[in-house]
Symmetry: D2
Subunit: 424 residues, 4 copies
């Protein structure tokens, strides 16, 4: 039957993976993914689609997906197109047909899996935030550096760098179109915790999630700000808040904790932040402000970033991700203003392979681009961006945020401390 | 090897296609696509992805793709994931593993292929516009009706109905949220012909393309207006224009026509419209205005639609396709206004299967939704929307537009003539 | 008392009006206004404020206001700052202290008053539309031309030309920033007639209002389109509609027509259009579309205009009147887009005298600018824009619209007929 | 002559001022304004226009304006319509025809003038910020309280409270439409200092201006946030920055400081902040963020405020001051979203007296509304808002901001310290 033939064609190529750690030569690279929830679905779409759209140096093969619940992981494999299912990530890493380990689990397991995979000779793609602590992130970065010497690559999944508008913004900034940077302001606003009766999921418990809006949303905007600015944050001042301090236990959990029936749902303590608000300075002395919250009614995914420089400004809103606003301050004042660039031209990053101008891309395309870029990094042996070191830097900023929030918002350097910004 | 296993799993099910014309029962349905350019790439993405996202009654199998150039079609098959390649559409239709024929060719071949496929017992999906003439569209609709009696379905690819914001808009209108309709205004603005030296491609020659902006963009907005309003256009008044009446012949064509070398590119006549501007009346008496053009500098894909009714209004712009603007005129004036609905909630059409709120979809998702809906229609034996009869109605409107444009814009009924709108 | 002193200071100047028709020389010019409703209030604000903001060649003095109801006109004089009140416009014209007659009455009295005022040696500012018929407008234009020979000026109050964004748009177009024009599309959408029980005021009766949305809103957008394009409309194709054909008689009127009490309000026929929809061609061959309606729920004052040319495009919305969108099509595609110019820079028209950048102006400022420009025209003896001839041209377009609407939308030349657009 | 008559009519009324401190009874109230630059022009427009638009309990009379340069102040009096000119503010206060003293000078003279005026029995309107120090503001507030006992009123000119969209926002919040407040974020972005060669005016020198962006822009947004939220800020964490630390001396100043000619302009030190970035907590525990800067290229007057509560959200941008965005979080998610309310309906604050719906107001209308509200407060003997006590509270916040900025951004309570926010 026809659908078989596609596979047979692949089989018939008999080529060895390009850039495969073992030094093999065919153009296929097996991917093994750990975790298959929201991120797993998005990554699957990325792996499945990248080779259909881009001219890739290697064809990604969805070799195996891994999860603890055997039945569930098999269903996920069927749905998302993974050839095999595993229930122990160690087994996944051990597979010969897995060359890339893609880690989509919650943050508390990132370090163990990533280090093991790297040490086993695999390339690694790890979801953000890189880890739940600086120590873990340091260990991971060290492992990545060791692996790098062996030709392996390690990338962290800050996918918003791969929204074409953001990649293009970085290009404009790198070209000097903003000049000396003065301000960066970023918010990431969501509203799914506004309802005080939203249940107490694992994401709201520190032991599992590490932190709340800070690690989930804040990590994205810290990375994006540093990526776009092309320089690190050197210190922060922060406040965090948990507005709703107890929430109903989920049905199962409640049953487990309470013998009694009837009445209102039992509530448990929320142990992570609902919101994090912080300011900071970049290495150049530019001022930056950040807000990450799950309590902004009506804002669904409002990652908004604006950068102001001496020669121009840029603005972006993830809810309108095909657009970039650019103000060129070197133009005559009377005819200047923020222009809405529809980032869908063939000259824009990634767009040469997509649809004609004006035909919108969406959220999931960032994962297609991520897959593409990782495969290029593997093929060319170049360090992928964002690297684990980039992820570690974000982790250090988050740690400084938490420290500042505990110390009455006092300005707290991001370690290791850089020299103070020069007088301007 | 792992990637094989996916296929083996499929093979192991041994099920017959659901809703397959031959009465077989397995859950796989083979698709055969004719044409593999822009639309072919988009449809391929739809077929590949639908089953990964939605819970479908049948699994679409990319059986074979067809094109006249054997080498090129084989490359396209590889790129887009089609199991086989054919060079004659008659052979494609004859394949046993093809249950659905998906027609992505230019309009002049739609009728012949579609009628043959339907007569051969296949389901048909045909790109828009349905045909290049009313007569062809009538023949296709007759064939579809004959096939319908045999349990086959035929759908025309007006994919913009399947932008979730548009499907949701239709739902709001059907629920009466706009009340009695007064105005529909739609534009579809692009700018790729602004440059007078853009070459004379086949799309600019009447013998191949039928018409210009009218058939390409105008067909979309006529269908969308009628779909949303829930009623047909009954008459139109139109002007069309070809602003740039000659264009450089494409490199190859030029060589063919001219012995001489050197000098500027030779130019040939543009024989279709660059722009079409028309007004009309819906069956209810509402006024409608339409503009389709490829000469609107800076507008890349500006399909904009607004509907005003006695109880509310809706507005949409395809360049921001995740948003719908809705004004509820029954609310107190002081606190009312057009609200920007981010059409990404699980309650919105198609969104139950996609990402969390605020995570944008893009252009190509309409093709995933189209594949899903066609498969449901096949499985349930219901008439798909838009049907060939819907496509024929659009064709009749376009014919009335061309007739009016030739007759000094005089109001021209869309045939067959409906009774005049009632006094209001 | 202090407030007296201001006047005494003025008195002490003893200067004669600049540009006064009688050849006098002082820098004060007396204004006599006929009508004091909505337009009268706006014009009063213009006359009171112009000299406080701009450096004028003559100081406008609010000499007298005229209305038929003596008590009401005296109250209006008090409220709006007019020194005297008259109840017969002939008496107003006859006043020696009136050098400018400002006509703010409904259209049916424009011609008689304007011709009399011009023949009496006064400058005239007449509200739009210039008249209720072409014949009246022709007579007024003839009178203006006679008066022009005597050094008088006559201007028609198409105030939207004096929104700074519109004046600036005209400047950009005149400088060639749009290149050859292809498209003009304008709507003027309001919603105050959506409610079918809005009463039957005089504006909805043909004998008083001439026409409905067409003369009220359509006149504005026809003038604005021609002003911006810098060329006239040469022909139109039109549909008009009266969606709600009877409305409750106003309280007083109802009492007059009905002996009976109780029950629902009596209704009378609406004899003007609710909506007018028309397309047309400019002298250059550019296509234009127009929609004027009072039935667009949620649109309060949505005068929206977009112009597309070979080198760029402009867009404007009166609901955001401090902004102009400009796309420069000569820029590289990757970094181009519609830029939002905040038209509040000192380099922008009229803005040198107002607030710092970013400090918004409003609707009424158009009347301040109108007063300023009229006074400059008087002082310099130049023809003001828009002239009565401009107003007549708009009237001819409206007449062609009504004729086309009566003739099944057939394309109807605007008389006197210009040569057909050149082949392009 | 006509213009005289207006005054004679006023004179003829013979009424005594309503609410005049001396107990007189006529409906006129004399205003004496100190300062006549930007703010003076805006206030003049407010005083001149208020009685033409609103039905006021007293008619404001522009009695006298005061400035140190006799010739210049006389010219300003002429231009703006003030009956008399004074060169010493003590003389202005002493005038019998001055009942209201309107202080439009830089902040360093506010305290002395305001206290003297209040002690002399006058009503006082004082521009923001109330003073350059907390001590001054305390003295002024004490004087206002003493005066209040004598029936005088004192108001501070935070005019943005009187943008109708802001007044209406406050009404919605007071009605509970946002529910419990979670977030307030406000920026006030301008760009006139981006150019490093913008000259060193007095506004950039601490001894004259007190502070930079903080006192100028920051004062506005602190007041607006507290006004809208209906509760005070209780503590802040702040960073400030002077990006450009030296600037060219203005022509005159340079000459004064430098013997030498030729070469580039001499530069002097900027001693105030260019930018201030701070976070804080409101009494209810809501988080707030603030940014005031003159270095945001392309942002002309971007006072943007967003408030998120448990039941809804509001957003506003001063560059589009006729609009308010409102999200009602109690509506069904599928049809909810931020609605754009055009705040021009007769039901909106102040709008009953202005133009029809959709006809925009501008910046200067806030001063008309301010005049109206002050006159009502005088007539009714009610405390005006914002009172001097409100201005003092803002001053205390600014002091805490400066203290925090000096102390490494540590969280600094606004004094007098309120009890800590309750546990939520």
């Amino acid at each position: 039957m026809a659908p078989r033939e596609e596979t047979e064609t692949e089989a018939a190529t008999g080529e060895t993976p390009v850039g495969a750690p073992a030094g093999a030569s065919p153009p296929a690279l097996g991917v093994g993914m750990v975790g298959y929830a929201f991120m797993g679905a998005a990554h699957s779409q990325g792996w499945r689609t990248a080779g259909r759209v881009f001219d890739l140096p290697a064809r990604p093969v969805l070799a195996a997906v891994c999860g603890r619940d055997g039945k569930a992981v098999r269903a996920a494999a069927d749905q998302h197109g993974w050839a095999a299912a595993e229930t122990d990530w160690r087994d996944l890493i051990a597979r010969d047909d897995v060359h890339i380990v893609d880690i989509c689990t919650p943050g508390d397991s990132h370090a163990e899996i990533a280090v093991a995979a790297l040490d086993a000779g695999k390339h690694v793609l790890c979801e953000k935030p890189l880890a739940n602590s600086v120590a873990e992130a340091e260990a991971m970065t060290a492992a990545a550096e060791r692996a790098r010497a062996r030709g392996q690559v390690a990338m962290v999944g800050f996918n918003y760098r791969r929204v074409p508008a953001m990649t293009y913004a970085r290009r404009l900034i790198a070209e000097g179109r903003l000049g000396k940077l003065r301000h960066v302001r970023v918010t990431y606003l969501q509203d799914w915790l506004v309802d005080p009766d939203f249940p107490l999921t694992w994401r709201l418990q520190r032991e599992h999630a590490g932190s709340g809006a800070l690690g989930d949303l804040g990590a994205h905007i810290v990375d994006l700000a540093q990526y776009l600015a092309g320089e690190p944050l050197v210190g922060v001042s922060a406040m965090t808040e948990t507005f709703v301090r107890s929430r109903p236990l989920p049905a199962g959990a409640s049953a487990g904790l309470s013998a009694g029936g009837g009445g209102a749902a039992e509530r448990g303590p929320v142990t992570v932040d609902d919101s994090a608000l912080f300011t900071g300075r970049l290495a150049s002395g530019a001022l930056a402000s950040f807000e990450a919250t799950r309590m902004a009614a009506g804002r669904k995914n409002a990652l908004r970033i604006e950068l102001n420089g001496e020669r121009g400004s840029l603005a972006f809103d993830l809810e309108r991700l095909n657009e970039l606003s650019f103000h060129d301050h070197t133009e005559p004042a009377a005819s200047s203003g923020f222009r809405r660039i529809l980032v869908t031209e063939p000259e824009h990053p990634y767009l040469e392979a997509w649809w004609p101008p004006g035909h919108a891309l969406g959220y999931e395309h960032t994962f297609v681009h991520q897959a593409r870029d990782l495969l290029h990094a593997i093929a060319t042996g170049t360090e992928p961006e964002p690297s684990f070191a980039d992820g570690l830097q974000v982790q250090r900023v988050l740690a400084a945020v938490e420290e500042s929030a505990e110390k009455n918002a006092v300005y707290t350097p991001v370690l290791p401390e850089l020299p103070a910004p020069q007088a301007l």
